[in-house]
């Protein structure tokens, strides 16, 4: 009985090993073919990106570049858009500050509130849990545009006469826009964080409960520290949503003095494509995308995983 398996497994293992090594080695022609395919894909992926960089560095400020590598690169276009990207009297730093404030508000607000709800959905068994989770999912399916009309009217009706700040119109403030953006990011944050909290072993909390740890203590002292990567990723995705937010900003902030954002300036440049020098547009796009794209690139392992999980669950 014991002798038979050893006899049969030994040759099959040998066969498997030779098979694997054969599969592992590609012939020169196969390797070449695959490399050509990969290089072609790389070319299509990189082409728009290289084109934009080439435009931005072109010192001649052409509307029509004549090659991918301009003769003598310069950073003039960057200097121009940092000083004054559009015809409005506002610099890039001020635009970026507004976008940053909006993005931070959206990020902190949705993660801070979202993680509490995510914990309840992940760990607590209570009445109406399923129904509420379906409600969250339903909201997640809604595009942000779906509630734009009522939000506009609601926020528009809130105008305060504050003692120090003076006239405050909620719709035309970054807080108003931020609240509108949160209506989209909060359900995503709840769902994404719940997915992550589900993977944290319950035994840790059970052991702590035996030692007399209350629910609140185990949330703050055990779950929250363990969830830090997911909090960072969800927060970052919320940050991108705020940083690049366009439709709420463009509908709500129709008074330029109240604070423009990067996305509005970009829209303005695109709207005036006839007069906008391509180099300026390219430089502005790079400066707009760089902060979030660089972070994304270096932490992609965590972020893409979160995106895919959130996607699969969504």
């Amino acid at each position: 009985m014991t002798a038979v398996p050893t006899v049969t497994t030994a040759p099959s293992r040998v066969v498997a090993r030779t098979r694997r090594s054969r599969r592992g080695r590609l012939t020169g022609r196969q390797q070449l073919l695959l490399q050509v395919i990969c290089l072609l894909i790389t070319a299509t992926v990189l082409f728009p990106i290289l084109w934009i960089f080439s435009l931005a560095l072109d010192p001649r400020n052409l509307s029509r570049p004549d090659g991918l590598i301009p003769p003598g690169a310069s950073l003039d276009a960057f200097a121009r858009v940092i000083a004054k990207p559009t015809s409005d009297d506002i610099g890039l730093l001020e635009l970026a500050r507004n976008s940053f404030l909006l993005a931070s508000f959206v990020s902190l607000f949705s993660v801070g509130i979202g993680v509490l709800a995510a914990y309840a959905f992940s760990r607590l068994r209570f009445r109406g849990r399923e129904v509420l989770m379906i409600v969250i999912l339903g909201v997640l399916m809604l595009p942000a545009v779906a509630t734009i009309a009522p939000l506009f009217i609601m926020l528009n009706s809130i105008k305060l006469d504050l003692p120090i700040v003076g006239q405050f119109a909620l719709r035309q403030s970054l807080i108003g826009v931020g609240l509108a953006v949160v209506s989209g990011t909060l359900p995503f944050a709840i769902w994404n964080l719940k997915g992550y909290l589900d993977t944290i072993p319950k035994e840790l909390e059970e052991a702590a409960a035996v030692d007399g740890c209350t629910r609140n203590q185990s949330f703050f002292k055990i779950v929250l520290p363990l969830a830090t990567p997911a909090l960072a990723v969800t927060g970052f995705l919320g940050f991108i949503a705020g940083w690049t937010e366009f439709y709420f900003v463009s509908i709500f902030l129709n008074d330029p003095t109240q604070g423009f954002t990067l996305s509005l300036a970009l829209n303005k440049m695109v709207g005036a494509f006839g007069q906008t020098p391509w180099s300026d547009f390219a430089a502005f796009s790079i400066l707009f995308a760089a902060p979030v794209s660089i972070v994304f690139f270096f932490f992609q392992k965590y972020i893409v995983g979160g995106l895919a999980v959130g996607g699969v669950k969504g």
């Binding site: 498997a16 990969c38 009217i153 690049t244 893409v304």
Partner: protein, 334 residues
């Protein structure tokens, strides 16, 4: 189960709000309070608005809008809105086809690239994986404006490259002054889709396949190599190995993601808005861009509300149908 509950009526009432439920209420309160104000109440308010002729003059709150019953809905469905280039059925079919065609391409390309990058012994795999993620990490609003620029008739990269290639074949450069985003005539006479659709499709293909590839790669790496060896020993061809071994592992990961991609693409605002602006003649308009224009350009708040309610019902229908499809095909995979 019920007997002790009736006998112990007093503890039962306490159990209704067990410690867990009380903690849960506390933890859920902030989120639902916020969502109540910025999501649920607006949805209710929107439903009421959709039965009124809410317009610019009602914004101040001094003039109440008139109730108009189902007028907004009938006007939308019968395409009788007083705005240019609005045809409800065309919009509906285009939007559905747009999402469907994109997702099919994304999934096929994503899986194909994942398979190539999964070949054992392929060199520079890590570099390719790092490069192919680039479209994902660039904010969609930038992607849209950059592609709008690439497709520009006079100075866009696409036309310039085509002209460069054309010179090699002695084709005059003027042959490649293609108005990608605005051409009125359909490029293929028997397919009623404008050229702008194909331009949008190209841009969104660039944007969409890499994330599908990431999901597919994850699924491929979960396939035990022994299965391939076993199939190979049984004399299965490469295609049979893909069908019998790879596909059952890909399906459970790709299908939910494809459904998610369908909804995301259905609601994809930036490309249509920035590249074609919905043109030519509103033929690449999507529900989301039309809703934006109803609020921002035409200030028809009541109509916009009815439009959003219709969109909500449509998405609900799509979710139910796709979920059923997912369940029906999931049993096949098992």
């Amino acid at each position: 189960m019920t007997a002790p509950a009736i006998a112990l009526a007093q503890p039962r009432r306490r159990r209704r709000f067990s410690p867990d439920t009380r903690t849960a209420l506390l933890y859920l309160l902030p989120a639902f309070l916020v969502m109540g104000i910025i999501t649920f109440y607006p949805l209710l308010f929107q439903t009421w608005m959709s039965f009124t002729d809410f317009q610019l003059q009602n914004l101040s709150g001094k003039v109440q809008p008139n109730l108009v019953g189902l007028d907004n809905y009938t006007q939308i469905v019968q395409s009788k809105l007083n705005i240019p280039n609005f045809e409800f059925l065309r919009l509906l079919f285009f939007n559905l086809f747009w999402a469907f065609s994109n997702v099919v391409i994304h999934v096929i390309l994503g899986v194909a690239v994942a398979l190539v990058l999964n070949v054992e012994g392929l060199r520079f795999k890590k570099i390719y994986r790092a490069l192919f993620i680039l479209p994902v990490i660039i904010p969609p609003i930038i992607v849209a404006t950059v592609w709008r620029h690439l497709f520009d008739q006079d100075n866009g990269a696409i036309n310039l490259v085509l002209q460069g290639i054309g010179v090699l074949f002695k084709i005059p450069p003027d042959a490649f002054r293609i108005d990608w985003l605005g051409q009125v005539d359909d490029p293929i006479s028997f397919i009623p889709l404008p050229l702008a659709y194909f331009a949008l499709l190209m841009a969104n293909t660039w944007l969409g396949w890499p994330l599908n590839s990431v999901v597919a790669t994850g699924a491929l790496q979960s396939v035990p190599p022994d299965l391939y060896e076993a199939a190979e020993m049984d004399g299965a061809s490469a295609w049979q190995r893909f069908k019998v071994v790879t596909l059952p592992f890909l399906r459970p990961a790709m299908l939910p993601y494809a459904i998610y991609g369908f909804v995301v693409t259905f609601n994809l605002f930036y490309l249509s808005f920035f590249m074609s602006g919905g043109g030519p003649f509103g033929r690449t308009e999507l529900f989301v861009t039309e809703a934006y224009k109803l609020v921002n350009d035409y200030q028809l708040y009541g109509v916009a509300a009815a439009f959003s309610v219709l969109l909500f019902l449509l998405l609900l229908g799509i979710t139910l149908v796709t979920n059923r499809l997912a369940r029906a095909t999931a049993s096949y995979a098992e």
